[in-house]
């Protein structure tokens, strides 16, 4: 599936719920089922400090495809991290760089991305794209 197809399928999945608590239940399930990042990967380099919660992010590229791993100490943030990985992992640097992420807003979780919310998510999205840029530059050099 393309990145946008993945985004659309998440939007569809969330559209089944009109109650906030149901949406958040799903997010909690996603957070809890996210494969935890290994302790070795919980390095200061991989940490994105938010004011309220922290996010860890790591990435590797094999055969031109990027795989992300991430985690957070807050489960709701972890749920969103899980969605971001679901959408962006398994794609090429170019695909990732050129993606416009619209699903978070569409499923009503934009408030988690407000700069003042400071949960590290906004910085994480930026970091995911930075990884893609770095891998691309490395591949081209």
């Amino acid at each position: 599936m393309t990145i946008n197809e993945l985004q659309d399928s998440i939007i569809e999945e969330f559209s089944m719920f009109d109650d906030w608590m149901d949406k958040y239940s799903l997010l909690i399930d996603l957070g809890n089922s996210l494969q935890p990042i290994t302790d070795q990967d919980k390095t200061p380099q991989n940490i994105i400090e938010g004011c309220q919660s922290r996010v860890w992010l790591n990435a590797e590229m094999n055969n031109g495809i990027i795989t992300y791993r991430g985690e957070s100490d807050a489960v709701l943030v972890k749920g969103i991290v899980s969605l971001l990985i679901q959408v962006l992992s398994g794609h090429t640097p170019d695909e990732i760089i050129n993606t416009e992420l619209y699903f978070i807003e569409k499923i009503g979780l934009r408030e988690h991305l407000s700069p003042t919310r400071s949960n590290g998510l906004l910085a994480m999205i930026k970091q995911m794209k930075m990884y893609a840029l770095a891998f691309k530059a490395k591949a081209n050099s």
Binding site: M21, I28, Q52, S53, D73, A74, V75
Partner: protein, 407 residues
């Protein structure tokens, strides 16, 4: 406070009728800011519609009226704090600006390299950073009063910190995270024994407990209007005349001058020396209205009701398995910080929000305190006199649901 009085009070606060995500708003974030009674909002409206003219300099009717209102507001603040003179009240933008004013002006006049300033471990960033900036500027050292496991300041350690290099002590009256009511009278007496002045950060105390600056013998006492049902952007600094007179102005501009030539400017007398620029006379007038509103109900009555809420809220919270109350001082204001098991505060706050309940999560602008507790933050419910036990019941019901979802 009986049921009818409580309902009458609630009716004065239109926002309490708001629906949040189609649910009744339960506002437990009063430590951050309080809601405004109708009379305060009306005072602001009245100010702009009927009283608006720049104060002090005008010879015309409106300017005189606005000046009178602003200066009457100063008297109201002075009376509320039991200050001896109205000139000892300086209007500021709030607690933060008031502390910055003292750190800057007092620091300029009285602090020299090698001197020390004492704060406590439970201070809000607003009562840390201005002093740190002064320390950096002048080569001073910041000393910190520690606390015990209940969140009470260690007075024996404080005594050891006081010495001939100490220039000022600056402590919060009530902790915004722990709710601890600090023994500021004792802190002041101990400092005064060595001729050291004390600033008290009253942001969390003035709205909730009776404050008498003369009885406390505080040298400086500061608070914010918006935390006591007044507007944002206005607050006050009480300072003893002897200190304020000896301190240089904080900012230069209009109003604070006596005469200006390009050679030399002489400064106005108190309180105007510290109020550069057009003061927020609409804000001060509305703040005075808020103080009158509080006075009419009675701060003792407010404190008693909030204490009931604290006791009831604490009891009910303890029903929840894994509940850990952060801050269990004997003398406590109606602020309850807590954690449940290993659940992250952010998750609790976000889910409670979806149920219409406003609490605060995180480090509450007191990172050194949160770090010293070895936690990432807390969930904080902070009550005001318009809150009810029924709201606490709803809150507990919601919290139980949230905890179950997150466990």
């Amino acid at each position: 406070m009986n049921e009818q009085e409580l309902q009458n009070i609630r009716a004065d606060f239109p926002i309490l009728q708001e629906k949040i995500y189609n649910k009744d708003l339960i506002y437990f974030d009063n430590g951050a800011t309080t809601q405004k009674p109708r009379c305060v909002v009306e005072k602001i409206e009245e100010g702009y519609y009927h009283l608006n003219a720049n104060i002090h300099r005008g010879v015309h009717f409106l300017s005189q009226k606005a000046t009178e209102a602003h200066e009457a507001a100063r008297t109201t603040v002075a009376e509320f704090l039991h200050a001896s003179k109205r000139e000892e009240i300086i209007f500021t933008r709030g607690t933060t600006e008031a502390i910055n004013l003292v750190a800057s002006s007092f620091g300029e006049a009285f602090c020299h390299e090698g001197d020390e300033i004492i704060v406590s471990v439970m201070e809000h960033h607003s009562n840390i950073v201005p002093w740190q900036m002064l320390c950096e500027r002048k080569g001073l050292t910041l000393r910190v009063i520690p606390m015990n496991e209940f969140g009470e300041l260690n007075i024996d350690e404080y005594k050891k910190l006081l010495n001939s290099r100490t220039r000022i002590v600056s402590v919060g009256h009530v902790s915004n995270v722990l709710g601890t009511i600090n023994p500021v009278a004792e802190i002041i007496t101990l400092a005064h024994n060595q001729n050291i002045p004390v600033l008290v950060d009253g942001a969390q105390s003035v709205p909730h407990i009776p404050v008498n600056v003369m009885e406390l013998d505080a040298d400086f006492y500061v608070f914010s209007g918006h935390k006591i049902y007044g507007p944002t952007g206005i607050g006050a600094l009480y300072g003893k005349e002897k200190w304020l007179n000896a301190m240089p102005p904080y900012q230069g501009g209009g109003e604070m001058i006596s005469t200006v030539t390009f050679k030399k400017t002489t400064y106005n007398e108190l309180p105007f020396k510290f109020e550069a620029g057009t003061p927020d006379y609409i804000g001060s007038t509305a703040l005075a209205e808020a103080l009158r509103y509080v006075q009419d109900i009675g701060i003792e009555k407010i404190a008693a009701h909030e204490h009931d809420l604290l006791i009831y809220g604490t009891q009910r919270l303890m029903e929840i398995e894994g509940m850990r109350i952060i801050g269990t001082a004997k003398n406590k204001s109606a602020v309850i910080s807590f954690l449940v098991g290993n659940i992250h505060p952010y998750d609790v706050g976000m889910l409670l929000d979806k149920l219409g309940i406003a609490v605060r999560t995180g480090h509450h602008c007191a990172q050194p305190l949160i770090d010293s507790l070895g936690i990432a933050g807390t969930v904080r419910a902070s009550f005001a006199f318009y809150n009810t036990k029924e709201e606490i019941d709803e809150f507990i019901k919601a919290l139980k649901r949230v905890v179950e979802m997150l466990s």
